[in-house]
Amino acid sequence: MAEGAAVKKKQKVNVPFDYDKYLRKGKLPHIWCPGCGHGIVLKSLLRAIDKVGLDKSSICMASGIGCSSRTPGYVDFNTLHSLHGRAIAFATGVKLAKPEMNILVTIGDGDALAIGGNHFIHACRRNIDMTVIIYSNAIYGMTGGQVSPTTPEGAMSTTSPHGNMEPAFDACAVAEASGASFVARSTAYHMQELEKVLTAAIEHKGMSVVEVLDSCPVYYGRQNKYKSASHMMEEIEKKGTVSGAQAKNLSEEEIGDRFVRGILKQDKDGVEYCDAYDNLIAKVQVKK
């Protein structure tokens, strides 16, 4: 009996997370290449959604164009696979027209920060309530491996065949400076931390930006001589980052060019955009 109970308890702990509840199973397997980090990000996101307990019908997941932007096709929400770079602008329309919806935007580094850069900074400025998850693999996966605004200097890509000479964005710094009230960074390697960060991001009211360092083993990996997907995760996501807690005890030199993970900004005081709009309506309707 006691043993049985113990087993039961154990089972409870070890029942694997039921992703199927959120997936459009008929659409799987997904198109992502073997070892692509995008799947890991998606799984972390689904666990976070589950933790927050969002109603599936209340979620609008929007994306642009790119490998990462295929995410909405696999999940059982209101899903909008829009145009390259425009996901946040489309999502702004959905949210403002129907503020009770929960908006998730799943997009690539190119989608968010290259062609979509303007919508990105303005959504941050407005502090409109949505969670933008950047699948930041430092490359254009979908189109076959071109340089992106997050490709590190010196890295190879099909459009930086002599080594990238452009400085990269610090996406989180740009988001912060533009006014986003929640900014965080994690990696596909740190998928449990990522789940936590995403949970906090979804729960946060206002613009939440989560940059997820993840990997494109096929285009970024091959061109930059990584041996495997795990090798990339090890080198870029694990060794290339430090947690916020670690960073506190390190000097800037010690941190070097490693990225700091964790919640980098969380401002709960600012008024969210749709709330501000509701206040405005209340004000003018009273006046009227």
Binding site: P72, H81, L83, R86, A89, G93, V94, K98, M101, L280
Partner: protein, 378 residues
């Protein structure tokens, strides 16, 4: 005892905003540009009063994208712009057409190309409206000539958008946009207002956003439990991307066919003295007002002149034109561009003499100019 209708001297752009409100528009996203600016300005004031939303986006692309987003969320949505803004919106317009999301786009035409002559009137975006976005795209465009007509045609544009699940353009030129005439606002119910069709599926899981059972399948708003997928890629009836060439073919043809098959419903034309017209003038927008004046004068002079004034320019009213031109020796096409609509007229009327009258100097075409051409054929 019905209340008096509101009767007001309005600018064309104001009539447009009022027409949108009458039609049930609750969402506006756009970016200001001369000479369409007042439409957004008025709605930025009025929409919050009725609980609707106005947002000035960071650019025209964002304006169009958010307009489509608002529509997907179930609100009748509008954006307004002019030439350069139209060019920028083209990619998103193609998305709305492909994904079959209703919305209305106002284009108050100014002198082009490029920044051109921002405060001058023009009718030079006719072809850009039809062909501006890449690919084969369905287009409905209406072209009012009078301020009260801007009101009614804006209402009609919303109706067509919802009925045909497609972006609909309202095109007028700066002259009418900034001119003032009296508009009598109809009571609610007086003008037909078409709302979005509701799906009949019992089980929400069975809902197909591009259901092949329908020529125009109902579009369920986001957030009401129908959890479907929308993409600008070629897609199947469930909304998911497809690589099946049969389905790609069918999808591409379907969005054009729904317009083509319903042309008669979409067309609207005014005919003046066309029955026996030997000299037919084909004109829309402000040029049609000059043409109306000129045709009246010509009749006084004993010339058998007539006017066909299309209120729908896309799909092109070829049948009405053929009918109206049945007795015509010549068709005169005055337009504020260097030859756009005239090309369609030529194509529609092989063997008929067609003469374009074009002006692109920032001034309207005068009745006298048209009369001069009519006189050549008397």
């Amino acid at each position: 005892m019905a209340a008096e209708r509101v009767k007001k001297l309005m600018q064309g752009n104001e009539a447009c905003a009022e027409g949108a409100l009458y039609a049930g528009c609750e969402f506006y996203a756009g970016y200001p540009i001369t000479p369409s600016t007042e439409i957004g300005e008025i709605l930025s004031y009025k929409l919050p009063l009725i609980g609707g939303k106005f947002i000035q986006m960071e650019d025209e692309i964002g304006g169009m994208a958010a307009t489509i987003g608002g529509s997907l969320a179930g609100k009748k949505s509008l954006t307004a712009t002019s030439g350069p803004g139209l060019s920028l919106k083209q990619e998103c317009i193609g998305f709305a057409a492909m994904a079959e999301v209703p919305c209305v786009i106002i284009n108050v035409m100014r002198g082009g190309p490029s920044t051109g002559y921002p405060t001058g009137p023009s009718q030079s975006d006719i072809m850009a409206t039809k062909w501006g976005t890449h690919g084969d795209t369905p287009v409905i465009a209406v072209t009012p000539s009078y301020v009260p007509e801007i009101f009614t045609e804006t209402v009609r544009a919303f109706n067509l958008a919802e009925k045909y699940r497609t972006p609909v353009f309202v095109l007028f030129d700066e002259i009418i946009g900034h001119m003032r005439e009296v508009v009598t606002i109809p009571h609610p119910g007086e003008l037909e207002v078409i709302d979005r069709a509701k799906t009949d599926v019992e089980n929400k899981e069975d809902y197909l956003p591009y259901d092949n059972r329908f020529e125009i399948p109902p579009l369920a708003p986001f957030g009401e439990g129908y959890r479907y997928h929308v993409t600008g890629l070629n897609h199947d009836e469930d909304g998911f991307p497809t690589n099946d060439s049969k389905k790609i073919d069918a999808g591409n043809r379907k969005i054009l066919a729904k317009i083509e098959n319903n042309k008669e419903d979409i067309w609207s034309c005014e005919e003046v003295d066309t029955e026996d017209a030997e000299v037919l003038v084909f004109a829309f927008g402000s040029s049609a007002r000059s043409a109306s004046f000129a045709v009246r004068e010509a009749r006084k002079q004993g010339i058998k002149a007539g006017l066909l004034r299309p209120l729908t320019i896309w799909p092109f009213p070829d049948e009405p034109l053929r009918k109206a031109a049945s007795k015509a020796k010549v068709v005169i096409v005055p337009e504020l561009n260097l030859g756009q609509t005239v090309l369609e007229v030529e194509r529609t009327l092989p063997g008929v003499k067609v003469e374009g009258l074009h002006r692109v100097d920032g001034e309207p075409i005068t009745p006298a100019e048209i009369l001069e051409v009519i006189d050549k054929y008397k």
